[in-house]
Symmetry: C3
Subunit: 213 residues, 3 copies
Amino acid sequence: MMQTAPINPHLADTLLTVFDLAGTFVFALSGATKAVEHKLDLFGILVLCFAAGNSGGIARDIMIGALPPAAIAHWGYIAVSVLAGLITFFWYSVINRLSSPVLLFDAAGLALFVAAGTGKALAFHVGPVAAILFGTLTGIGGGMVRDLLVQEIPAVLRTDIYALAALIGAAAILAGRALQLPPFAASSLGAALCFGIRLGAMHYRWRLPSAGT
Amino acid sequence: MMQTAPINPHLADTLLTVFDLAGTFVFALSGATKAVEHKLDLFGILVLCFAAGNSGGIARDIMIGALPPAAIAHWGYIAVSVLAGLITFFWYSVINRLSSPVLLFDAAGLALFVAAGTGKALAFHVGPVAAILFGTLTGIGGGMVRDLLVQEIPAVLRTDIYALAALIGAAAILAGRALQLPPFAASSLGAALCFGIRLGAMHYRWRLPSAGT
Amino acid sequence: MMQTAPINPHLADTLLTVFDLAGTFVFALSGATKAVEHKLDLFGILVLCFAAGNSGGIARDIMIGALPPAAIAHWGYIAVSVLAGLITFFWYSVINRLSSPVLLFDAAGLALFVAAGTGKALAFHVGPVAAILFGTLTGIGGGMVRDLLVQEIPAVLRTDIYALAALIGAAAILAGRALQLPPFAASSLGAALCFGIRLGAMHYRWRLPSAGT
């Protein structure tokens, strides 16, 4: 098991919570815009916000034994989910004027959740491979549930370099920790790398090969 | 954390179990009728019965740490699920003659599961906001999984005032407990309120607003 | 609770792990071939491999409290999942020449996972009914998630005698244990019975009745 650098635990907790709540907010925005596209009513929007913003973290918390999951135990997560839903509901035309808002929020949420998920898994003393997997799963979980709930094949399966960006970001955090970077620096590095790769893949249409059928 | 009124724990357990098994039975009926509509064979019907009747409770039990989940540890849950499947299989024409049986069983299951889920979460000492969320999630989980398994967008997202009815019911139980009502009275009040709102929404076509796209 | 026969725990652990990894491999192959059919790219294939190969075991581990789940805590599971994905990616035409490879791998994975899931549940001291259910759920979980992720109604619901084969296999393992068979013999018997019933159902088109609508 990896020995993490000694840090102020309260500061680390605070940073983890900031990443987690920010990721929840932007994934909830992605859920809200998708809900509006599918013409769901106000409460349907809020349910999809909560599912998109919190499914990844709930799955992670269940699997590392952090029960009940933070998304349910702490009111902050439902509050930012509802806030994202209400903002989208009342100002959808503003949100929508941003180009491809679902994709952009999704990329930001992916990066934030990868950092938060990897950090929380390490705080629960899982090994480095498990921490990378938990970071990746935290990042892709919310979007998978969001897409499944409106009957779409999850973006993570169809989209070039999506889960791969999450995996690289999580691996970078582990590498940064191994190099004795402060946890916040390692997390920020991993999140920035994940976000950059994801944006680059969207903008330059980077592709992975498909099987020659 | 909310201090619950002192009660006879054995009586409370019994009442909780009755609500839980009754909810399982009616949700399993809703799963069975949907399975027959999709022309599944006998064992497919039973699988959908079990999933519809127990997914919400299993998710709740996993998240409050009540392992293994009651739906698997205690034979009663699989027994009532199978019973609901067999009844629907052999007397589908009778079940179907009731108008909109899926919707009616679904509403009753929602109300019973909200009461059982809220009560069990409180018994595991979660806070009041978490108890309301667990009650709501217990109520809507089974129907979500049922619908996803037959490739439909879950009713909870499309249907006016569904999750909202669950949320109000769960909040009413917390309010009743705070007002020192006996747990059974608070649970019954919440279940009745949830069922009434859901039936009213179906009958009078109450609607929530959609985003002005 | 059933008293299991005294055995060499290390040997039993090894056998359990062999069944589990073999089941992961063949289910991952079934996920990979389905991913190629849906024209997913390389990393999408690997994600579907991991989901198909490990969802059943992850669900079982969460519900018996074996946290973090073996599929994430031990690198062997992701390694065989990735291996299955790469084999399918580079030699799809070979894999595909086998008739109905998804169905065949699926049947083998079902049998292996039923044996591994029942054995692990018993090792965590659940009762006999729960062990049968956990064995069945471990067997059918990966294929359900695999099919849901590519927006198909899960094979377990549509396919004649699928979950029933898993249930009979798991029940046979419990019967063998009750008859004091060595655990490996009981597990092999149950797996062979499950596989045989599944192949027989596919080959002879055994059917269960549907409700007379």
